[in-house]
């Protein structure tokens, strides 16, 4: 059974149909990508999955349960975590505090316990701190835990966002342009890192990405959106040679064509 199954999802903003009758699946353990020109509706689809938007038609089923009508926090607790295209860290909080907040679905003690320092609360907090430190090391931010996250470099902020998302121990991780704004070396590191997430931790990954080197390098299955609708799907080589995809990108002038290197 597929981990995520979207059937005929449609999301409109007034007269604009941002996602149009979109049917889509992600298998457990996969690394899949959604690509498409700017404004194609990719981020909007992520927002539909995670409960930021309610979609008008269709259904999205995760792990056997429909996500429609649920709030964002409930969906996170179901096992879906995400990062944001325009980084949305808690910018005045430290790196490690960001991760601790990400751990929310794992935490259960109440404020009364904190008031009286009950042993169970103290234990949960110190375990959480250990786990946060471990995650910090895993994403390569060791030593930067006490920095205010706003002061981190751009690449580190993206990494921290991934760490925060992973802290919830998700089954499915949605990454919205994880390498945007990174230099080639950081991009290569992040690509490798995403693969490790799946290989070592078994997290299923769905990413939106404009950098074709990243997409073609790690995706097993690629879906192409244009004007909210699916125009193609398949493995990297099939997508590269699909005339509809080439047209969707190249037909839109030089700006779009510059970002895509299909023969790579």
């Amino acid at each position: 059974m597929a981990l995520l199954e979207a059937t005929n999802v449609t999301k409109r903003f007034g007269g604009l149909t941002a996602v149009n009758d979109f049917t889509f699946t992600v298998e457990k353990g996969a690394i899949d990508s959604i690509i498409g020109p700017n404004g194609a509706g990719k981020t909007t689809f992520f927002n539909c999955i995670t409960g930021f938007y309610q979609f008008e038609e269709g259904d999205i089923v995760f792990n056997g349960n429909s996500v429609s009508g649920r709030s964002t926090d409930q969906i996170t607790r179901m096992g879906i975590s995400r990062t944001y295209q325009n980084i949305r860290l808690f910018s005045q909080m430290t790196t490690i505090e960001n991760i601790l907040v990400g751990m929310e679905p794992q935490l259960h003690t109440s404020w009364i316990g904190a008031l009286f320092r009950l042993p169970s609360t103290v234990k949960e907090e110190s375990d959480a701190l250990d786990e946060a430190r471990r995650l910090l090391e895993f994403v390569g931010l060791k030593g930067k835990g006490d920095e205010i996250s706003r002061n981190l470099s751009y690449g580190d902020q993206r990494r921290l966002e991934i760490a925060r998302a992973m802290a919830a121990k998700p089954k499915l991780l949605l990454l919205d342009e994880p390498t945007a704004g990174m230099n080639p070396r950081e991009t290569a590191e992040t690509t490798e890192f995403i693969r490790r997430l799946r290989d070592e931790l078994g997290i299923t990954i769905l990413l939106i990405e404009h950098d074709m080197r990243v997409v073609m390098g790690i995706s097993e299955h690629i879906t192409v959106l244009d004007y909210g609708a699916k125009i193609a799907e398949g493995g990297p080589s099939a997508i590269q040679n699909n005339p509809k995809v080439i047209e969707a990108y190249l037909g839109r002038g030089a700006a779009a064509s510059a970002t895509i290197e299909l023969e790579n």
Partner: protein
């Protein structure tokens, strides 16, 4: 030349200082401050205000340059100082040209003009003012030229002397029972200190500063560095112990009047700690915070009053949890409808809530129950083992206990999971929710706990005054509490204390300021936002990755 004097800037700073002083004179502040002596026969508060303008102008003109040469400082300071005098001279001359000016500017009295013209005739006085201010401007500018070895002692000498003079009432109250009458008369006047005491303080402060920089500091730091871990803990414990003991004996030292002031400050600290949870921790801008204070006070009043409106004649201690509970209930009840509101909308709705409570308290509708404008009288006093708490000193300990409890709760929660949830909520509500944080309970806890502290303050307030009236619960209280949080450093617990001391304590001690309280609040808030937006005592970053062990030890201590 890179360090050429910037004439434009000099002129601007000088004139600005002059215009501000002109404004301060025109509202009557200068004149009323002149009635307060600082150093008897030598300096009044009004004169200090007047003279600090050219001094500050000269100081600001040369600030920020790496190396100021003497000639430049003299010229810049003189120009800035003289320009400060210009608007004031214009005012003096205006009174000559138009003797009826007082009809439109009520505060431009002959006394003010005589103060500005330094007691001389208008023309001579104007010249004196010009020269005097130029000299003061030079003095201000020279501060950057002087070597550290002279500047530091001088600053501390002047600072202590003036600070002592401004707060002379505090020392007067403290020292009166200790020193003999003759000695008191030699040191203090009815308002302000004598030149003798001023000189003593000046010399002692300079002496101590020189001693400190000439080796005292070095020795202190060496000794501290040489301490072992065990000794360091020991000295930490000792200083905490000393802190607690001083808090306990404080009202005995201060005497009745000052203790009353401290009680007042304490109630504001208590409210500040509560609002700090709502606004500082959780980022929910609440402008109707006074409502919970009022509810705490009224519930305490109704339940314990021996008068006509009392319904239960309960004891203070029995009524206290009910009063606090009522405030919490109100906090949560207000919280529910505003759950989905943010920023400005939230501020406006809470503002309205505060007003509703005040209007209800004044209304005829509830008059049979809570007394309308006549308020509630004969509210019961707390008793402990048959001992009735009536004096300020008794309430001091009650308030201290309340503040201690509030600090304890606020600091524990801040460092726990709930504190993180609040912070995340403050930073980005949508993402916080997406992280799995339950917005409803997180927000309601902030409103509820915040209201609890305010209700506690209200209940104590009510018992302390024995009678309460609706006009005590106006919007100004909410604004005061919010201002003290901002001035202290939003989200910071020591900041609340500092903010309350500055915004509530100081104006009570300087009664001359009382009339201009709002003006000073405004000026202070603007100045803070420009110069120190993080507040006087901002909250430090909690170190979690590296200092975890140390932190845990620290948290185990007294908070």
């Amino acid at each position: 030349m890179s360090s050429q004097l910037d004439l434009r800037n000099t002129a601007r700073v000088g004139l600005l200082a002059g215009v501000i002083t002109l404004g301060v004179s025109a509202v009557g502040m200068l004149e009323s401050f002149d009635k307060r002596d600082l150093i008897i026969g030598l300096l009044t508060l009004g004169q200090l205000l007047l003279f600090s303008a050219p001094f500050a102008a000269g100081f600001l003109v040369t600030r920020g340059e790496d190396k100021v040469d003497t000639g430049e400082a003299v010229v810049g300071g003189a120009v800035a100082g003289a320009l400060t005098a210009v608007p004031l001279i214009a005012l003096i001359l205006l009174t000559l040209a138009a003797p009826n000016i007082r009809n439109s500017l009520v505060n431009v009295s002959p006394e003010l003009i005589s103060l500005l013209s330094l007691g001389a005739s208008e023309i001579v006085g104007s010249l004196l003012l010009l020269v005097g201010m130029a000299v003061l401007g030079v003095a201000g500018a020279m501060f950057h030229v002087l070597p550290d070895a002279i500047r530091k002692p001088l600053i501390s000498g002047l600072g202590w002397m003036l600070g002592f003079a401004i707060l002379s009432e505090v020392s007067l109250n403290i020292l009166r029972p200790i020193l003999g009458r003759g000695l008191m008369r030699a040191l203090f006047g009815t308002k302000g200190i004598t030149p003798l005491l001023a000189a003593i303080i000046f010399v002692v402060a300079i002496g101590l500063t020189i001693w400190w920089s000439k080796g005292g500091q070095q020795r202190y730091e060496d000794r501290k560095a040489a301490m072992s871990e065990e000794q360091r803990k020991q000295s930490r414990r000792i200083s905490i112990g000393v802190g607690i003991v001083s808090l306990l004996i404080l009202p005995i030292i201060l005497g009745t009047y000052l203790t009353e002031v401290v009680d007042n400050v304490g109630l504001f600290i208590l409210m500040g700690l509560g609002l700090n949870i709502v606004v500082g921790f959780a980022g929910l801008l609440d402008l109707g915070y006074v409502a919970f204070f009022a509810i705490g006070a009224y519930v305490m009043g109704i339940l314990t009053s021996q008068g006509d409106l009392g319904i239960a004649g309960m004891s203070f201690w029995l009524a206290l949890p009910i009063a606090v509970g009522a405030a919490v209930l109100a906090g949560v009840t207000l919280g529910i409808p505003v759950l989905r509101m943010r920023g400005d909308y939230l501020a406006i709705v809470t503002l309205g809530f505060g007003e509703i409570i005040r209007v209800l308290a004044t209304s005829d509708l509830l008059k049979p129950y809570i007394g309308g404008a006549q308020g509630i009288l004969q509210i019961g006093k707390p008793t402990i083992f048959g001992f009735e708490m009536v004096k300020p000193i008794h309430f001091y300990y009650l308030i201290l206990a309340g503040v201690g409890l509030a600090v304890f709760v606020a600091s524990r929660l801040r460092d726990a999971r709930l504190g993180r949830q609040w912070m995340a909520l403050r930073e980005d509500e949508d993402v916080a929710e997406a992280m799995g944080i339950h917005l409803v309970s997180t927000k309601l806890l902030a409103f509820g706990i915040g209201a609890a502290f305010s209700g506690l303050a209200g209940a104590i307030f009510s018992a302390r005054l024995s009678s309460i009236f609706p006009h005590s619960f106006n919007l100004l209280i909410s604004i005061n509490v919010l201002s003290l949080i901002i001035v202290g450093g939003i989200g910071s617990l020591p900041g609340v204390v500092v903010g309350a001391l500055v915004l509530v304590g100081l104006p009570e001690l300087l009664r001359e300021f009382a009339e201009y309280r709002m003006l000073l609040y405004g000026a202070l808030l603007i100045a803070m936002m420009i110069a120190r937006p993080e507040g006087l005592w901002p909250s430090p970053i909690t170190k979690r990755e590296f200092h975890a062990a140390e932190e845990e030890e620290a948290l185990g201590g007294v908070q």
